[in-house]
Amino acid sequence: MLHRESGFYKTDYKSDMGLYRLPISRFAAFGMLVLFFAVAPLVLSEYHLTLLSLVAIAVVGALGLNILLGYTGQLSIGHAAFMSVGAYTAANLANNFDLPFLITLPAGGLMAAAVGVMVGVPSLRIKGVYLAIATLAAQFIIEWIINHSPSISGGVQASIEVDRPTLLGVKLDQPAELYYFLLIVAVIAIIATQNLIRSRIGRAFIAIRDQDIAAEIIGISVFKYKLYAFAISSFYAGVTGVLYTYYLGIASYEQFQLGVSIDYLAMIIIGGLGSVLGSVLGAFFVTLLPIGIRLAMEEIGTRFVEHDVLAQVISQLRQILFGVLIIVFLIVEPDGLNRLWINIRNYFRVWPFSY
């Protein structure tokens, strides 16, 4: 007889605070780790590993923004600027002081966190779209400063070439090595966020998001925790910037412009605000969907017309389709992919006795 759980029943606080609410999630998490660490590099080609690498980078950035917007409720559209802070910090440290990524990676994050705290100060007085504009200003100010400070940006080109990361004397330049490098950072980011959210800090964030006055009354220092949120979120962004820098071999402010901030916003809104899994799903979705659409259209289209004729149509159609799909997904499930997944899960949990 197959036994199934019939609900969340907890008998003590310890199990209520557990990382995994059900045994199956522990198995699922373990399965995912095996899949991405052991199976994927063996089975997938370099091309697909590249896709996963890009997703892994995006996951870290999306988690950071989700901490700020999804959990603390502070809208930021300067996320890409914090990435550039991390990127240039790491690039300068790696080139000028010959430091390994084990130092430059957290250093880039910390520098971004420091800048993030400064940008976060207006959040103490303003909310919502007003804060969005303040962070937009930060995006432009940081861009301008990098662009006009040769000591930061490495000269008139505002781009610094960085060598591939090395670990224990091994240069990580093979696609699989880079993939592991990015994957490990992404997994650490996921676990860290998951735990952060369950901690006092995370609960304070959520309290501020839900009702900041009430949060203050129950004894949460809104001042402190809002700045924490900015610092942690910017730390993630900075790390994302460092990852981009090592992955592409160059830090260039043109990779971190306003459009990128919007892309990350799109990721967490599509994925699901205030959800770790949502950030991951959103990163997958926004990174892979345009590629999937293109491949599907190429697959279908080349049966009817020549490639160069098709190319004119594809790029336009892809934009439309991407936009439409986002709208459709959000209409079907306004709470994002995370909620969609929960619905699927709940459906199958009681299947076939759904009533």
Binding site: S252, A296, Q319
Partner: protein, 412 residues
Amino acid sequence: MRLLTTLGAAAIVASSIAGTASAKDIIIGMMCDRTGPTSVTGTALCPGYHDYINLVNSKGGVMGNKLVAHEIDHEYKVPPAVEAYQTYKAEGAVLVSPYGTPMVYALVQKMREDKIPGTSAGFGSAAAGNGERYPYMFPIAASYWSQAAAAVQFAKDKLGGSLKGKKIAYIYYDNPAGREGLPVLEKLAPKEGFEYREFAVPPPGIEMGPQVLDITRRYRADFVIAQLFGRAPSVALKEFKRAGFPLEKIVGFVWAGSEGDIQAAGGWEAAEGYNTIQFAGVGSDYPVLQEIRDMYKANGSEDPSAMKYTAYYNRGVFQAAVHVAAIENAVKAKGGSGDITGENVRDGFYEIKDFTLGGLLPPLEITRQDHEGGGWVRIFKVGKTGYVAETDWFRAFRPEVVELLAEEEKAK
């Protein structure tokens, strides 16, 4: 049911990601920006590229080997460009064409590791012309340094053969590419005896009344060099016109003089006199373009609409032509076999000789040191109804530009 549809859609997307194209032909990876912030260029350039490739294929390809130009639109974003590059690599492309400065930067290291050559006509830093440092990246077109040198030479010719005591205003879009002309001016100013001043236009470059007034009223420049992008060139033309500055005394860099810019500035009559630097010939009066038109006619279709935008369309033809020439040399070296590698194609670039397509291309001379091909430009003036050639293909102050390259190399 709704659930099943969603899962089904996801399965289709997933399965299409898993499947990659296979082909035995010579594959060129061609990135494009038909959408995104720079789409005005891509929508004219990419058709030009395809048309030339189709023309070559219609004549039997390269020594019997068919060319396949796989276009992927990256929306001028870096991650899609990285993905596109990996697609090309998986398909066995022997040549890629990254589009846009950030993408060139993001891929240059990977291309060197994978030994796949690529071109970056009109993008990236001037230092990328250094073939020893970037063995697999070929700018093939005049860098901003070469353009700045040519602009100074042009100003000299226009101002009566000497720049002694003259004032040159350098108005530029305030980003790294915009500033790139400055080192050349700095170097040439004492040599030629002119003074210059820089006038930055902050992005997005649609507001430059103060700068133009500064140039025309306060600084009273004798000549203006404009390094602008996007909407900025047309705004600049309108402002200079309003300020009563003779447009004959303005020369714009390569991204500031397309038909689109002139139309946006009020049309040919309004912009008459403005000089533009080009690295591929403009206008439709080239034999190769006639061949393309004939090809369309033979197929019973009309001329492609992108052909009207000759500045960018011709650049697409230019890029394709240089690519095909390099591939042809590689195939020749292999005795006519289409089984070539990226390294073969790279060597093919060095063999390109006397290949100008009836004036559409400059007399490129790509060497192992100089991937810029000599830094040739041609200046066209805006006439009443179209471009008028002001100069022939020329290059200026080449020793100074080469000197700058050496200094840049030393600084690294």
